[in-house]
Every structure is written in structure tokens, then in C-alpha cells.
Amino acid sequence: MKRPIGSARRVVQGLAFCLLIYGGYVLKGAPAGSLLPRLSAPQGSYSANSLPQKAIAWAPGDEPAFNFYPPGAACRFNPGGGLFKACSVHLLSENLTWRTPLKYLSVYVLVFVVLAFFLGRSWCGWVCPLGTMGDVLNGLRRMLRIDHVHFSSPFRKALRISSYGLLVPTVAVSALIGLPSFASYQCYLFLPYCQVCPARLLCPLFGGRTSTLADFTNGISSFLSVASWLVLGLFVAAFFVGRRIWCHLCPIGLVNSWFNRGSPLELRKDQRKCNRCAACADACPMGLEHVTISKDKDVLNEAGCVLCLRCVDACPRDACLSVTFCGKEFLRSKYREARS
């Protein structure tokens, strides 16, 4: 079966992956890199010596090429500093702990919000390097002709609640240790989610840096190293058996999901053209059913949707599903012949 949007997405994902992981080497010193305020002071104080887990410490030369936080999970631990600074969870954590002045923070947040607003969660489906790695695992499973595990709607809801369970404490702890009276905990609790995030293990690995993989210098760092491997195991297993079930748990995806509804990038359905074949639901890597079952809505943007648009590829009805940007249609479903 032909999936032209899927093929385009694979190309975009590949490019985005290379740019996010290796772009730091290539584009460092680009003139556009200094457009946004560069923070210098706080992170310097978190040298490898002051943190119990050296894995999350800055290494020399870790300056990103572009000093801002895009919605597409650009990891701060990318080799050479990466193309961008970091992800949204990182943005919240470090700036709350550092108590970054509002005049700097507001610029970072504004850039993030604008990018997230215009493209919604398509950052997850088209850009996020974790999602790309997951899609590779998923492709491996498909090649082996093993069926995926379908997770029920209550399970997916539970994962979404759990992702709040990851994000809220991360933000709360980061804010708390920013207060002078709790500053002594900073060395243990700095960037709490990063300490277990699979991106922190995987992204540096692609640049050949292994220093973030493990740190057994003390009890805390050993515990966190083992914990992060367990999470990584969960990540690999989730993507291998359950398509993008991980993305329901991801706190970075959660932040993006707030911008999915109301984004000018819209997935639309012409109800009358739908034949209820549910090919869209079968193709949905997030396991969502709303495209099939929605009966009265024209716009189908939902929090869980990563806008990968596999449903538009799968839909066999001409112009039943379409994608619009600011009301202008640029993609639509169509019957595709198997041959030709």
C-alpha cells in the first residue's frame, strides 16, 4: 500500500534527527545563533564535581548552535551541544531552578509557544528524535511481521495521567530547589526528569559520547543510572510492541499536546464521506479511535494525536480526511490503487 505522507514523514524525521543530533557540530557559530539571549552564569556552577550524577553535567563545548528550546525534544545532552538548547521539560526545570529573570525566560517561552501553537503535536510525529528512534523499532517489528499490541482507551488515559505525574513533580521540585532555603538539594535534584529520560542516554550515544550512560561514583548516581536503564528498557519495549504508546506517557509530548487543539494545523473529516471502515484507527500509531468514531466534529485535533497523518494515508475515501493550515487545505485522503 502506498503511503506518500508516510514517506515524506520518514524523510523529514531523518533530516530532523540528523539536524538535532549532529547539527550542533555543523552550525555552531552560525550568526543566527546569537539572536536569542545567551545565559552564561548559572550552568557554570553545575560542574561535574558538584553533581552526584555526572551524567547530567555540562561538558566543555556543550553550547548549542541556536540558543532556544523548540517543541521537538531537542536533547540538551546532544553531542557538541546540539542544534538547539533543550526540550520543554528541560526549559521548565532548569529555568525554575536557576530562577531565570523573566525578561530572558519570557523570550524562551514565547518562542516555544509560537512554534508549538503553529504546528501542534506534529513536532512529536515529525521531528522528535525519540519518536524517530521509536519508529525505527516499530518498523523492525513490522518487518518481522509481528502484530502490535493494542492498548485500550482506559490504559491510554492512565498513561496520560501518569505523564502529568512525571511533569508536575518535575516542575514542582525544580521550582522548590530554586528557593534559597532548599538550594542545598540542587546537587541531587537538578533536572529531575532528565536523570531518567531515555533521550539523555540515547542522544549522546549517537555522537559517540558514553559518559552519560552510567555513573557509579556514589549511591545516588548508581541508583539513578540503573533507574534510567530501566526506563530505557521500558521505552524500547513500548515502541517495539506498542507502536507509539510511549508518547502517551512522555512529558515533553504532554506539553506539546496542550497546543494541539486550537492549532492552525488541523486534521479535518468530512463526515458524510466516511465509510466507517476504521482503516484510520487501525493505522493510528497512538491507538486513537476518534477519527473513526467522531460523528459531529469537523476538526479532529485531539490531545493524544501526534499529527503523523497516517490516518490520511490509510483513508480510502476521496477527500474524507484532509489537513489544513490556517484554513487552507494542503493534504487530503484519496483512493490509491495498489499498482501504478
Binding site: 500500500m1 464521506k273 476504521a278 490503487e337 499498482r339
Partner: protein, 427 residues
């Protein structure tokens, strides 16, 4: 393979009802019925030549192409892919023959669904294509089909597929997939060929040629709707029931090319009234409604009939080529996308009718309300309300398989067309 009735004196089942004997001269009478239905089709001037291929396929239904045992199937619920994957060949047994119907009445009461009577008669008396079915698959789509399966089990091996009344894929898909798996197991026990992933994939890809060709024909028809009559499209669809899918698809491509060429030559007539046909199936050779509508100067441009284009409409959209993935895709295609009024929710059918009216610029909707079929009767009543709200002219024709009431049907259809033309004049 043995038929239940073949073993003399040893009934296959304890409760065997009665032997059904084909009426005297049934074969000749059946042929006469088909010839007269074909003559009605041929009476229309300027038909594309490629239709001869389909006429030949339809009348050769007694000996369908292909190897392997013949598996008789009813309804659009049975995935031909599963049948073909285990090395059997599917033969659609749904018939509108009054000869078969009267044979069926030797056992079945007269006041039940005419299609059930006819289908039962065809299998029990071994008429036409039904004569070679070694095993029959009956989905329990409606009450009549539920009983039909049991009635037939006295005469031939029957595999029943239990159709859930709700076609919500979230709750019922797993059940339906299990039914298809069971069908695959039972059929492969008969043929000795297992339902493997590779064989299923081959069958799905082979069948896909049909959908592709049909969509090409529909695109061509949309540009030139006046070339191919609705009855001829129904002929094309009816031929698909038993023909080899690849051979059929090639013939459809040839027909599409011819329609394109003819459409460019002939101007579109302005007087014709385009109609959408919906409701109960119009089963070959009981096509008097087509003859009446087209004889009265209207044309059937689109339909939702399971006897016509509905079965050719939706492709099997496989997302993952694992075996469960393919079975799921088959279940979605043959169950979720099905517009049968046997389901609790018929909004999909209503949506399709409204969509077809718009897409084909139809002036009205005619529904075939098969007498004694509550599902189509009640569906028509609901559709009447919905279409009235949208000021779309609607006619429900309540009729049976025979031609006794053809004049009454003609009067009603002509009055309906007159009303539409009157409306047109006023606008």
C-alpha cells in the same frame, strides 16, 4: 467432498426436514428467466461492447472459473480473500430466481423473506451455481439468514458466521476477527491448505485488482454518466460475484476505456432523470425495477445495493502485513464498512445516500423495499423522513421477486418521475 444428502438413506442430521426436488423443467425455466432479463438489458441502444464479457461471466455462473472446491457464500460479509487463501473458490449464491423460490417453497413457508426462499431453493434443489457448492457460508445478517443456515444444513455442509448486531469496531471487531479465523480454520480443514500469512497476502493483493479497476470505472462514469446504464453497472457487479477477480478486473478496465471513448463522442442527454437506488438487494435475474426505471426514461447513476456496487466499493486497507493485521483489515472491510441495515446504527447508510445524491447530482432516491423484509422496510421509512427534510424526492417500491406486479411498479415509478419533472419545470 460429500454432500449431506448424497449418502442414501443416511440423513446427515437427525432432524432432516425433507428432500427438495427441482421442479420439472427448472433448468430450462431458469435459462428463460435469465435470457429475458438479458434481453431487457440488451434492448437499450448503444451499450458498450465490453458488456458482452460480463454477460458471458454471469450466464456461465453454473461453472465458475478456477480450481479447488466451490464454496457458496451469501451476503457481502464473507471475505473472498479467506476462501481463496485456503485454495477454494467463492461462488456467490444470492439469487432472485423465482424458479429457485418456488423450489424453496417445498419446505419454507411462503410468508418469509423471498430471497431466503429463493436462496434456500437454489441450494436445496441444486439449481445453477448453487449446484456445485460443496460447502455454504451463511452469515447471520438477519433473522431470515439465521434460519436459512439451519435449513440449509439439512442439505449441504453449512458454516455459519455470527454477525454481531452492532458494527462498532471498538467493541465487536475482536469477535468478528475470531469468526473469520474460525471460518479460515473450517475451510482449511476441508481443503487441507492452511491459512498462512503468505497465502492470505497473495489473496488480498489479487483481489485488490478488482477494487482498483472498479474505482477507475466509477471515475470514468462520473465524467460520462450517460454511457453506462445502472442496470449494466449492476451486471458488471453481479458478474464479479463468481468471476475470477483478475479476469474480471481486466474486463472492467476495458469497459472503462470504452465508456471514456463513447462518452467523448456522445452528448449527454438533458431529459434523463438521474436517480440513486438504495434499499434491499436487487438480485439477478429479478431486475424488473431496473427495467421499469430505465424504461420510464430515468437512469440509476449510483446505488448502495449489496447486490450491485456496494461490494466493490471499499478496498481492504492493510496497515500491517502480519497475519493478525491482515485479518483485522479484512474484518474492518467486510464488517465495519458494511452498510447492511441489519446493524443497529444505519447512519453510515444514510450518509452514503446523501453523499451519492450530491456526488452524482441525482434528482431523487428510489428505495427497493423487499416485501417481508422488515429491515429494508423500516430503513425506507426512516430514509423517507430524512430525505423529506432535505427536499430530496423519495420513492419506496415495495415488491417481490416475481413480475406479477410489474405494472403497479411502473405506475408508481412513472408518477414519481412525473413529480420530479414537474418540480424541475417549476424551478
Amino acid at each position: 467432498m460429500k454432500r449431506a444428502g448424497d449418502e442414501q438413506g443416511t440423513p446427515a442430521r437427525h432432524y432432516r426436514v425433507a428432500r427438495v426436488t427441482p421442479p420439472a423443467g427448472a433448468a430450462a425455466e431458469e435459462r428463460r428467466l435469465q435470457e429475458s432479463a438479458l434481453a431487457s438489458l440488451r434492448s437499450r441502444a448503444g451499450r458498450p461492447d465490453a458488456l458482452k464479457l460480463f454477460e458471458a461471466m454471469l450466464t456461465a455462473a453454473d461453472a465458475p472459473a478456477g480450481d479447488g472446491p466451490a464454496v457458496g457464500v451469501f451476503c457481502n460479509f464473507v471475505p473472498a480473500e479467506v476462501v481463496e487463501a485456503v485454495g477454494a473458490r467463492p461462488v456467490r449464491l444470492c439469487t432472485g430466481s423465482v424458479v429457485a423460490q418456488s423450489a424453496g417453497e417445498q419446505v419454507m413457508p411462503r410468508d418469509v423473506c423471498p430471497v431466503a426462499r429463493a436462496c434456500f431453493g437454489a441450494v436445496a434443489a441444486r439449481l445453477g451455481a448453487a449446484g456445485q457448492a460443496d460447502v455454504v457460508v451463511v452469515p447471520t445478517a438477519c433473522d431470515a439468514k439465521r434460519r436459512l443456515g439451519e435449513f440449509l444444513s439439512d442439505y449441504v455442509q453449512v458454516l455459519q458466521l455470527s454477525v454481531p448486531p452492532r458494527n462498532d469496531y471498538r467493541t465487536e471487531l475482536g469477535y468478528w476477527v475470531a469468526e473469520l479465523e474460525r471460518l479460515g480454520r473450517d475451510l482449511s480443514a476441508l481443503t487441507g491448505i492452511p491459512l498462512t500469512r503468505a497465502r492470505l497476502r497473495d489473496a488480498i493483493e489479487r483481489r485488490r485488482a478488482r477494487q482498483d479497476a472498479f474505482h477507475e470505472l466509477q471515475r470514468t462514469r462520473l465524467a460520462h454518466p450517460h454511457v453506462l446504464a445502472g442496470s449494466d453497472l449492476a451486471l458488471v457487479a453481479a458478474a464479479a460475484f463468481s468471476a475470477d477477480p483478475v479476469h474480471w478486473a481486466e474486463a472492467v478496465r476495458a469497459l472503462a476505456n470504452e465508456v471514456m471513448a463513447l462518452g467523448a463522442q456522445r452528448p449527454r442527454p438533458s431529459a434523463s432523470v438521474p436517480l440513486v437506488l438504495t434499499g434491499a438487494p436487487l438480485l439477478w435475474p429479478a431486475w424488473k425495477l431496473y427495467a421499469v426505471i430505465e424504461g420510464a426514461g430515468a437512469s440509476v447513476v449510483a446505488d448502495t445495493l449489496c447486490s450491485a456496487t456496494q461490494g466493490l466499493y471499499d478496498p481492504v486497507q492493510v496497515d500491517e502485513w502480519s497475519r493478525p493485521g491482515m485479518m483485522r483489515a479484512l474484518a474492518l472491510r467486510y464488517f465495519s464498512a458494511c452498510l447492511c441495515p441489519c446493524f443497529m446504527d444505519t447512519d453510515a447508510l444514510t450518509d452514503r445516500v446523501l453523499e451519492l445524491v450530491e456526488e452524482w447530482g441525482a434528482c431523487g432516491v428510489v428505495a427497493h423495499s423487499l416485501r417481508l423484509c422488515q429491515l429494508s422496510g423500516m430503513q425506507c421509512a426512516r430514509l423517507r423522513h430524512i430525505l423529506r427534510q432535505r427536499s430530496i424526492p423519495f420513492l419506496a417500491v415495495d415488491t417481490e421477486l416475481g413480475t406479477e406486479d410489474v405494472e403497479q411498479v411502473r405506475v408508481r415509478v412513472e408518477a414519481f418521475l412525473e413529480m420530479i419533472k414537474e418540480q424541475r419545470r417549476r424551478q
